[in-house]
């Protein structure tokens, strides 16, 4: 395994019938508390005029972005991007549930698990991948709308699925985290449901960056420089053996 993997979801909304088997499979796999889910099927309702109605369903989850804002926001690195395959994962034992990452994700793909108090989101079923299986949602998707695999491998399902097709990445001019979900649908049909929105950092985070860090750096640098100067003066002056008590 010399070469790094580049895992991605490929999703074909045209094949999704909103059966939500994937949500059930995900909940069974991860035991997410009632009212919370790691994955979604979005829809913006029927379009057109009766009887020519259509409706698009857009499966979504954490996109395991190549430039993840959630990782950037985490103060400790409990949320991190795994080197070897690009998955964005959470070290739950290290997470203190502060929710900065939840706020930072422009896709609202994260939540604070009410049972564990930790950040939670799609982990691409990394344990199933390690066992050579597909993520639970992908394995269970009867329409084949959800696909997952390694873009660096030309033989993978995802590489084959996008070959020669127009793909749509859910980004805007303002927000580009380089999401690793590619949608096989023209933008007009799916743009509404999956496009990201940037949220302001929480006040504590802003305070930390604008006041906390500079003030502490300055205080420590100033006292250290002051004492270093005093010490140099001491070295130059020597000690008063008889005068000092």
């Amino acid at each position: 395994m010399a070469e790094k993997k580049r895992y991605a979801f490929v999703i074909d909304p045209a094949r999704c019938i909103d059966c939500r088997a994937c949500l059930v499979a995900c909940r069974a796999e991860w035991n997410t508390p009632p009212g919370q889910t790691r994955i979604w099927v979005h829809s913006d309702g029927p379009r057109g005029t009766f009887p020519n109605l259509t409706q698009t369903y857009v499966p979504a989850q954490c996109h395991h972005c190549a430039d993840p804002w959630c990782v950037e926001a985490c103060p400790t690195g409990a949320t991190f991007k795994r080197e070897e395959d690009g998955l964005v994962l959470i070290d739950e034992e290290a997470c203190i549930g502060c929710g900065l990452c939840v706020n930072a994700c422009p896709y609202q793909a994260r939540f604070r698990n009410v049972q564990t108090g930790k950040a939670d989101k799609c982990s691409a079923c990394f344990h199933r991948l390690a066992a050579g299986e597909q993520p639970a949602c992908v394995a269970t998707c009867i329409g084949g709308a959800r696909m997952f695999g390694d873009l660096n491998d030309p033989e993978s399902t995802v590489s084959k699925a996008i070959a020669g097709r127009a793909v749509y990445r859910p980004i805007t001019d303002e927000v580009n985290t380089q999401p690793m979900t590619l949608y096989l649908t023209p933008p007009d049909a799916s743009a509404v449901q999956v496009n990201p929105t940037r949220r302001d950092p929480v006040p504590a985070e802003t305070f930390w960056h604008t006041i906390g860090l500079p003030v502490v750096k300055l205080a420590i640098a100033a006292t250290f420089a002051g004492q270093a100067a005093a010490f140099i003066i001491q070295l130059l002056k020597g000690e008063n053996e008889y005068e000092d008590a």
Binding site: D91, G97, C98, V202, V216
Partner: protein, 277 residues
């Protein structure tokens, strides 16, 4: 540092005196606290990710995290030692409140005019300025030490509260998540503030030759009279008056006992003695 010149004889006589500056319990607490900072500071800084919060270099994160076997165990050890540290401090303050903490706080925290004047002169003297300006007489602790104890007490309070919030964050409902969010910068600022103070504290307490007696007193509990007279005149004079009062009292009891028929005197009421006051 006095500018009323003492005679050589006076200096020698003062040198022979020994005064108790610190109680053993306070000495032990102090070194336990210093040792804890030695453990908690480098581990704490390694938890804060240098990439996202540029304070320590990423290399320090990597090094310490590798030593502890990863981020999660590092956080765990930091939190465990932090709780031991807090427990010992709170325990000592609660059980030693009347006999140790009050005397400590009483002489350490009340800033009078002399303390403020000391603060204006002493720092400049450290850099070779105002050499001939006499320092106002100080109590058991000088103005700088008093300010520093505010910093340490207030800092310790905030470090403790925010540390506990972060350690037990899973008990905090999401509606109160701002508590966790604010705990992080407050913890950081309190640590940074105390640490800035510690830099001065360690230099003045352990390196500066004029304060050598103070350094050794943090082990033996004692200082000699000359140091006490030169650096803590008010305290020295108060102690001498206390001692004289006690000796006077004792003498009167001795005399009374002799008059009553040569019995040895009952143990006299102890006058207030001891260090940290």
């Amino acid at each position: 540092m006095s500018h009323e010149k003492l005679t050589l004889e006076e200096r020698e006589a003062l040198r022979q005196q020994t005064l108790v500056k610190h109680y053993t319990a306070n000495i032990l607490t102090h070194w336990f606290n210093a040792f804890s900072w030695l453990l908690l500071l480098p581990t704490g800084f390694a938890i804060l990710l240098g990439k996202a919060y540029p304070f320590v270099p990423q290399a320090w994160n990597d090094l310490v995290r590798n030593v502890f076997g990863g981020l999660a165990p590092l956080i765990k050890w930091h939190a465990i030692w932090g709780q031991i540290w807090l427990f010992v401090l709170v325990f000592n303050v609660l059980f030693g409140f009347r006999k140790y903490f009050i005397p400590f706080a009483a002489t350490r925290m009340w800033m009078d005019k002399d303390d403020w004047r000391w603060l204006m002169i002493r720092p400049l003297q450290m850099f070779g300025l105002m050499k001939d300006k006499p320092l106002p007489p100080q109590d058991a602790y000088n103005g700088g030490q008093k300010l520093y104890s505010y910093l340490v007490l207030i800092g310790t309070f905030f470090i403790g509260v925010t540390g506990m919030i972060m350690t037990y964050s899973e008990l905090i409902p999401t509606s109160l998540q701002w508590l966790i969010q604010w705990s992080m910068p407050i913890h950081f600022i309190a640590v940074g503030g105390v640490f800035a103070g510690v830099i001065i504290h360690v230099y003045m307490g352990a390196i500066m030759p004029e304060e050598r007696q103070a350094f050794f007193s943090m082990f033996s509990g004692k200082v000699n009279g000359l140091y006490a007279y030169l650096h803590h005149r008010k305290w020295y004079e108060r102690k001498m008056a206390e001692q004289a009062a006690w000796e006077d009292h004792y003498q009167r009891q001795l005399t009374a006992a002799e008059a009553a028929g040569g019995e040895s005197p009952a143990a006299p009421e102890p006058a207030p003695t001891g260090g940290d006051r």
